[in-house]
């Protein structure tokens, strides 16, 4: 105790630190139990971003298709490795506009499941197709994914944060696919990437068959 009081007397910073710790300890239960201040203007933006970011992550068929885009890009190499992740969001936005405007596109969910199957098969076979074919195929499927997102885009001030969140999440899934796809430089990695493609195709087939 004497040591402690001496320490406090000679080092005023220690006293501040002790008081801060006591204050934090006292505040912690209050902070945990308190209801969020939803009326705060900044909370909406952050909430919208988080909702948008998590939105694509809750649809496994969407997730695997996005990862497949990255995997296929990595297998195809330059320039597909960066062109596909650039093209996809732009075409997805076009699909989103169609969804927002209300242009009827039949069988959107079927299109999303099919995208997982087709892109998964491309990865599993390590299919080397011309660049324009890959861009066309990925772009066509991006319309279905964008359409589904566009229909679910919330109205109001949160729309920007929500849209930014889900576009970034979609892009991050592409990048994670590319990162995993880069393992294909090694024989064992190539096998793992192609196996991941087969698994993606299987997940797509389960969704298409209504088994999930």
């Amino acid at each position: 105790m004497i040591v402690k009081s001496t320490l406090v007397r000679h080092h005023p910073g220690v006293m501040t630190m002790l008081l801060t710790r006591v204050a934090v300890a006292a505040m912690l239960p209050t902070m945990l139990l308190a209801a969020p201040a939803l009326a705060h203007t900044g909370a909406g933006g952050a909430g919208g971003f988080v909702s948008g970011f998590t939105h694509p992550l809750f649809g496994p068929d969407h997730v695997v298709a996005m990862v497949a885009v990255g995997l296929w890009g990595a297998l195809l190499g330059q320039p597909a490795i960066w062109l596909l992740p650039v093209v996809f969001p732009l075409v997805m936005a076009f699909g989103g506009v169609l969804g927002i405007v209300g242009v009827p596109i039949p069988s959107v969910e079927t299109g999303i499941a099919t995208s997982a199957i087709v892109l998964g098969i491309m990865v599993a076979l390590a299919a080397r197709v011309p660049l324009w074919t890959a861009v066309l195929l990925v772009g066509a499927f991006a319309i279905f994914h964008g359409y589904a997102h566009g229909r679910e885009l919330p109205d109001g001030a949160d729309a920007v944060a929500f849209a930014t969140g889900f576009v970034i999440a979609t892009g991050t899934l592409h990048l994670s696919g590319i990162a995993f796809g880069l393992l294909a430089r090694w024989p064992a990695g190539r096998l793992a990437v192609r196996a991941a493609g087969a698994a993606i195709a299987l997940i797509g087939a389960l969704y298409l068959g209504g088994l999930v």
């Binding site: 900044g42 933006g45 919208g48 971003f49 960066w82 992740p85 650039v86 093209v87 996809f88 969001p89 732009l90 997805m92 936005a93 076009f94 989103g96 506009v97 927002i100 405007v101 209300g102 997102h149 566009g150 885009l153 109205d155 729309a159 920007v160 944060a161 849209a163 930014t164 576009v167 970034i168 892009g171 990048l175």
Partner: protein, 168 residues
């Protein structure tokens, strides 16, 4: 001081950030040195917008215009189109002026309103300069690709929200 902080907070909303990040990346993409003329044009636009607000012109909801410029800039960044500096200067000054209009001071007292407007301007200038600097430094191939990918994300987000606002 509180009004100045309010001004800073008023800038940091998703629409403003999306637009300023887009124009900052556009200005910095492929630039070998800091694009001082684009920065000057941006500062000029911001000043004109602020003066017009101070001259008792009513603030407008110019968010769709900000998003329109963000979408166009995002497409140009994603495509890596080498556009002339003059076009970048015009886009930067237009966006900055529109930005000032979209963030009018909420305070009634003149000193507080001025402090708020200064807060918005400082945040807008600092964010723009930071993004330009980051885009300039992105010189390695994978970094340049990263800038293009972010451009496509910005364009996609802006197009979606624009469509939402124009239809509902």
């Amino acid at each position: 001081m509180s009004a100045f902080v309010d001004g800073l907070a008023q800038f940091f909303v998703p629409t403003h950030l999306l637009a300023v990040v887009a124009i900052g990346l556009l200005a910095g993409q492929g630039a070998l040195r800091f694009p001082i003329t684009v920065f000057g044009a941006y500062t000029f636009g911001l000043s004109v917008g602020s003066i017009m607000i101070a001259a008792a012109l009513r603030g407008q909801n110019t968010a769709p215009m900000l998003l329109g410029i963000a979408a166009l800039s995002g497409i140009v960044i994603a495509a890596a189109w080498p556009i002339p500096y003059r076009a970048k200067e015009i886009a930067a000054s237009a966006l900055a002026g529109i930005l000032a209009f979209n963030a009018p001071p909420q305070a009634i007292a003149i000193p507080s309103a001025v402090a708020e407007q200064v807060g918005v301007s400082v945040a807008a200038l600092a964010t723009f300069a930071t993004i330009v600097f980051v885009a300039m430094r992105a010189a390695r191939p994978w970094q340049r690709i990263g800038v293009r990918i972010i451009g496509s994300w910005i364009a996609a987000s802006a197009i979606l929200v624009l469509a939402l606002w124009l239809t509902r």
